[in-house]
Amino acid sequence: MDPYLAYQRLVAAETHTAQPVASCRHVHLSTQPLVLCAYHLAGDEGAPVAFLYGRSPDAANLVVVGEPRNRSLRFRMLERLAADVERYLGRFWSRRAVVDDRGRQKYDPDGRPRLLAIDAPQLIVPNSGTADWLTTLARSTIWLRTDGDYPVDAVLPRFGAHLTHLTKRRATGGSANIVAATELLDLHWVTGQTDAEDANLATRLSWIDPNWLEPSWFSAATSVRGLDAIAAARLAEVLPGAGPVPDPTWDVNELEPAVNTYNRAVSAGVDPAAAVEAVTDAAADALAPTWAATWRAIELSRGLPEAASVSRRWELDRQAWTWHIGRVDAERVWFRRFRTAIQSARLLAQSEAAAATLAADMAFDDPLVMARAVADGMAIEGIVIERDDTHRRPGPSARRMVTRPLIRLRPHEDCLQPIGTTLTWSTNTGVELEITNIADDGVVTLTVTAGMRSPLPEVGDDVCLAAFSPPRYYPDTLPTDVPWTHRLPAPPDEGVA
């Protein structure tokens, strides 16, 4: 763990209060997200039990399945969920033309006018577990057939395709199409508890807002107001699990009796719609605190000002969404079951670029994030004590001298970067400086190597110089055909059957 986070965690534990580790919000938050909480059977990711979802805290829809092991019932429930999700996604179908600075339409390489979705969907789930499980849900629905012996409604494979697109975005990194509330809190606050405890949304939220707990979730004798973080987190610990795997005690005490009630009633001839009530009640009670916690996490994060690069990352989500709905409209939403070596390499390259961009963007957007880099030695802070704008040194060709302003910096801590390292000025990332000397007294001599026409740090300025920079983009060099080194030999002949 980096020293600054470790320190903030100790402060949190000491003061019983979560500590901020970001001064602005690094994730786009939609004005109309779809929050989704879910349970599946323990040990069976393919058997959902209940979904609680909706677009505002006081408009929750609940779908459950009376007997989660019954596949027909399962797909009927998923069809209801899928229809509602599709209705939500339908709100993001409008696109507008992309124009250049002078208002002229831009065109794609294939000659069609370039469009961009005005907004894109955002699913917010309680925790990383649920976000990861959406990938399984996508895979278990996208390949379902609408014909044959066990046909499903066409909405299900469509739902699977949408979910495949959105979960793929999440895996590539830096995307806000799917957001886990725990990760949202993790980016902006640290608590005084362990990582394992932090994975629990309810206890983590209690550190940041001890007053989020509802009296109705506890016995009448329990006081839920005026608690400090640790007391609130202790109380929150006993709340039902945030999913997607339910608490084992809930399975035994609530789910199993409710499912048994359903099965008995149905075999006795009761209308299944009425018989499912016991499961509905159990799931509604269990998911209610998680629903509240997810919305509270969104509300807290909305209170932070949006970081500068958030809209740029959201535009990438909107571009990807535009591409996706274009394929939907053209009935060409196809995904591969298995990726080729080239597709895997491309996906990994995208993921790496997104991760590097996100890390650098966050640091340059937010002094609190940059503080971590400073504590880690990856950035240097100090006072400019001298600047020589007339300094000259040999140019690249070594034949003539070029002007390269010189700056001397007295760092607040020892400079841990070696001589020759290129640093980027956090105030203007166009300015790059190379460490040319580190004196015995710690004073660092820097030569400006890029951006010397823009305003440079002044003598007396307290500056921050990072040993990393916003990533540059290079064209993709992947081949179009799989080369001879990446073709698997034909499997040995298995003989004639």
Binding site: A359, M378, P396, P479
Partner: protein, 443 residues
């Protein structure tokens, strides 16, 4: 010198080099592989093959390295010969003056280097050079090369000679590896593993002798980190460190004496959980460096007797912030002796790959930690740190590593459909610890 069974190390080595060259020249195999343990003469093999290729009057031979530093080192070794060497490079690269003087051709484009017998460049640069196709190529450090880097260049080359050290650090990603794991030909596999998978009948030969490691280290490193065993090229006692007698009251002196006597020292600090920039370890390492420089150590080897100065010592660490703190501390000591800063190399394991020193001081990756993550357990990381030296290696660590290994359960996922690592990091760490503890010196 005790007699060895079988051919002499030099003959065993030459036999492998000759066989590899003959097969490469015969062009019967699309892939030829060479396993090369640390200091086994990989560069000399590449040099020999390149020289014979050029002498034969064959078409241009590209050599693919993994970093600019490796390309520069290789060019230095190849220059000053009768054949023409070219170095393909990116626009931001600055050619080294002595190489320009030695007649090496530098260019950003393949076309400008057409007259060269041999062209050296890192894989990433080859990927950006759009033109060109070659009959054959040499891939250096193929175990450092990621499968997707090979994917980007492979179709330029009709066949390849792939040379590498299987004990290097595994390729890694800052992206989400779950995207691409669990399938054969994952972009995160090594290029070597990819070639073995797609060309199962390709001949792979192992260089049998480490010329760098002394016998004290060759056996230990071979046992802990390699499936195919290798031996030292020098005999017991052929290399020696002589230090004038010093007070044994100081731990650093005792550690140096132990290292001089046995080739190893395990400097152990009291057990504690600390941030990874543990200031006491920094102090101990700086003190060791200062002690060695001040002790007037002389080294005897095959070439004669040489004094051990700052340039013969290196410090290997796991993290960049450790490098920063150690460099700062060492440079202060050097300044006090009137020596320029940076005269002792301090670097992370992955940047020390392929380099060689007389003495190496290693900061144990697990020192002072509460956990044992895959990064810190990785066999390759430890193997690189402990196989850079020609005489002795001093390992500095907090006590309690054995307990840490025992207590920390493995949490790394197993990727179905992929080969597990040939050497298990956890086991390698324990094997190594068993041997290092015989050389323990309390700090």
């Amino acid at each position: 010198m005790t007699s060895r069974p079988g051919p002499s190390p030099a003959d065993a080595h030459a036999a492998v080099v000759d066989e590899v060259w003959e097969r490469f020249a015969a062009a019967d195999d699309r892939v030829i592989g060479v396993y090369s343990p640390p200091g086994a003469g990989k560069s000399s093999l590449v040099r020999t093959v390149a020289a014979r290729w050029a002498t034969d009057g064959r078409p241009q031979l590209p050599i693919v390295t993994q970093t600019n530093n490796q390309a520069d080192d290789l060019v230095s070794q190849l220059s000053g010969t009768t054949y023409r060497v070219g170095r393909l490079h990116a626009s931001t690269y600055k050619p080294r003056a002595q190489q320009v003087a030695a007649g090496v051709a530098f260019s950003e484009t393949v076309a400008a280097l057409q007259g060269c017998d041999i062209v050296v460049a890192p894989a990433r640069k080859w990927a950006y050079s759009i033109q060109g196709a070659w009959e054959a190529a040499v891939i250096d450090e193929v175990y450092q090369m990621r499968s997707d880097d090979l994917l980007r260049v492979a179709d330029r080359f009709g066949r390849v000679l792939a040379v590498g050290d299987p004990g290097q650090l595994s390729p890694f990603t800052i992206g989400d590896e779950r995207l691409v794991r669990g399938r054969p030909l994952s972009p995160l596999a090594t290029a070597a593993d990819t070639l073995r998978l797609t060309h199962p009948s390709a001949p792979w030969r192992a260089l049998p002798v480490s010329w760098r490691l002394p016998p004290s280290a060759a056996t230990l490193v071979s046992d802990a980190f390699y499936i195919r065993p290798f031996q030292a090229g020098t005999a017991e006692g052929e290399r020696q460190l002589h230090c004038p007698p010093r007070s044994i009251d100081r731990a650093a002196n005792r550690a140096l004496a132990e290292a001089a006597r046995t080739g190893w020292a395990f400097v152990e600090l009291t057990e504690a959980h600390l941030p990874r920039t543990d200031p006491e370890v920094v102090e101990v390492i700086a003190d060791l460096v200062d002690t060695i420089i001040g002790a007037g150590v002389r080294a005897t080897d095959e070439q004669g007797v040489t004094p051990i100065g700052p340039g013969s010592i290196a410090v290997g660490v796991a993290h960049r912030d450790q490098r920063g703190h150690v460099t700062t501390a060492i440079d202060r000591g050097l300044a006090a002796r009137g020596l320029p800063p940076g005269s002792v190399v301090v670097d992370t394991a992955n940047r020390l790959q392929g380099r060689q020193f007389e003495l190496l001081i290693a900061w144990h990756p697990l020192s002072g930690r509460r956990d044992a993550t895959a990064f810190h357990l990785e066999a390759g990381r430890l193997c690189v740190l402990l196989s850079r030296h020609r005489h002795a290696c001093l390992v500095v660590s907090r006590a309690g590593i054995r307990d840490q290994l025992d207590a920390h359960p493995g949490v790394e996922p197993v990727w179905l459909g992929e080969e597990p690592p040939a050497v298990d990091g956890w086991e390698a760490n324990l094997t190594l610890l068993d041997r290092l503890e015989e050389h323990r010196v309390a700090a």
